[in-house]
Symmetry: C2
Subunit: 339 residues, 2 copies
DNA sequence: TTGTAGGCGTTATCAG
DNA sequence: CTGATAACGCCTACAA
């Protein structure tokens, strides 16, 4: 149809063809009330005939609204967990006419100029931003974002400001459920492996873990506690360490990725789960299903939905109350009762 | 600082404070040549003092360029493979001042209104688009995109138009390398498992596989050929089927995800790789390292870079010649020689 | 119910 | 070297 470089059709063109002013066309586009049905139909017809699409850029400039939401995430974490959160964000925001501007973290000295989050947001005039689980205190700029007037929602970080809020799971409960599950199976000697406690969820889980272990009169030696990393590699490391110890736990509570690494390490050593070790995970990541892992589920898709709705509320000056998502135990086959 | 709703600082403000016209400020911003160093510094100073950021929306409108690139992908495939491609895209495009508009596939009857790719692109005035491996012929709209004047680059689809091109690996070679590897270890009975042959890479690999098997006088029974899905689940399925057969191959060529599923299935049956079966994979996905899988690598990050550069070339009316990426064999521990 | 005109924040073309 | 001024395409009082 159009040759390259040819000006796209504008509201003026439509106005001329339809013999009305562009104000009228604009009103039709935005479905105003006070407008004659006849002219309305006429305008719509011309629009269709010419396959007209309003220029979003111009509209943004004029309305001071971009219908764009910035999505920030640490690439380190662009993993299993957020992969399952993002679809919820897409669906919710998409259905409201928003598009997602995807800002990956470019910290590693990338090309010199490292845009800050705030600058990126201002630069692109996003209407709001969603930030996926940065490690607490890792980003000094959080302060300025919090203090700014840009609506933002954090997932898995408990930061609050006048125009910001957050969504997080009830991680304390997650840990409680995990420990109670093991306790009910007769386990008393239990270890723990999770990501850095500088992450809020990991910190809360650990609190919940210790509290429940103590409350139920269970036992966890300090050397059975591993708190460094959220990946499978780390699971190998955990098993390596564990097997070199005199005393060993009969069960472990471990984040899913770590748990999977542990299971694989055990398999390679000719051991089995739960035969030689019971494990209950955190998160219910996709991969945990493949390993038949009993785990405490986070409602990831729903977190994406909740975060999006919360953000829209903030944008529209409604509630910005933080949201805590429920968690629950998914029983599969990685735990067995102890005699 | 600013209270909510307060107008952001504009080029006019800077002009006033610096006692120059906004034309001058604009020239400073865009580092024009003909401009006095003194006023230049003065303007820059004011800009910094007021933490001024040009409004990208206005700039886009004026320049008829959005510095936005649309990234389309089938969510089904937002998996291991593309996860490793996307960082290359981000880095390259990001370093050129482009931001990425992330359009996930919303086919599953989402919210009724399903924007087409083309419409999305026009609507947001993207300067170009990158499309990640849709299954061939799955999207009727490809035609209109191909015929349009919107620069686009496909990854893993061999579509070409006046303003479109593609990046793909030398998949035929991949398969050849895999088979030759097994042949050199003495294997003669070999099977095959990969995703649907409606995917161009899978189709090319299969051609390469069959050709090489025949050329080297190896043997592959029809029932040893599996071509359905790119996931681990499918690997389980493959092993289940294989073990029920009379005749079995001594080695398999399989896409990494499938291969991993196969390995796990074998482990669960008390068997080992390569002890009971040699496997060589395709892609060199991150996960293949954890499984010590010998595999034929695709340069994923580099594909992202290449696609981005190609797109920029098309945007700037330079070459739009398709790019074929080299592949090579990564030897790890999943193959052993046969006596 | 419709049209006029000004504004949104830049860039770009010319004069000065 | 610098500064008016007209685009860019749309929205929105305010008039008619």
């Amino acid at each position: 149809m159009d040759k390259a470089g040819v000006r796209a059709i504008t509201i003026d063109d439509i106005a001329k063809k339809a013999n009305v002013s562009k104000a009228t066309v604009s009103k039709v586009i935005n479905s105003y009330s006070g407008i004659n049905e006849k002219t309305r139909q006429a305008v719509l017809k011309v629009m269709r005939e010419h396959n007209y699409w309003p220029n979003t850029t111009a509209r943004s400039l004029s309305m001071q609204r971009s219908y764009l939401v910035g999505l920030f995430m640490a690439s380190e974490l662009l993993d299993s967990f957020f992969r399952e959160v993002i679809p919820g964000i897409e669906a919710t925001l998409g259905s409201q006419g928003y598009d997602i501007l995807y800002f990956a973290d470019k910290r590693p000295g990338n090309t010199g100029v490292t845009f800050g989050y705030l600058e990126k947001c201002r630069d692109r005039r996003v209407d709001g931003a969603i930030l996926l689980s940065y490690i607490r205190g890792d980003i000094p700029e959080f302060e300025s974002l919090l203090a700014s007037d840009i609506p933002a929602v954090f997932i898995d970080m408990t930061l609050e400001g006048p125009y910001t809020s957050y969504v997080i799971s009830d991680n304390h409960k997650s840990a409680r459920l995990a420990v109670e599950c093991l306790h009910s199976l007769g386990h008393r000697e239990v270890g723990y492996a999770d990501g850095t406690s500088r992450s809020v969820p990991a910190e809360r889980r650990f609190q919940g873990f210790m509290e429940t272990v103590n409350r139920l009169g269970m036992h966890c030696r300090p050397e059975w506690i591993f708190q460094d990393s959220f990946d499978e590699e780390y699971g190998y490391h955990v098993i390596e360490n564990l097997e070199s110890m005199e005393q060993q736990p009969t069960a472990m509570v471990a984040q899913d990725n770590v748990a999977v690494g542990m299971i694989r390490a055990l398999w390679e050593r000719g051991k089995s789960v739960p035969g030689d070790l019971s494990i209950v995970g955190f998160d219910d990541l996709e991969i945990s299903r493949h390993y038949n892992l009993t785990t405490v589920k986070q409602q990831k898709y729903e977190m994406g939905v909740a975060a999006s709705e919360l953000l829209l509320n903030i944008i529209n000056h409604k509630s910005n109350k933080p949201i805590v998502m429920d968690t629950d135990l998914i029983i599969r086959g990685s735990c067995m009762s102890i005699k």
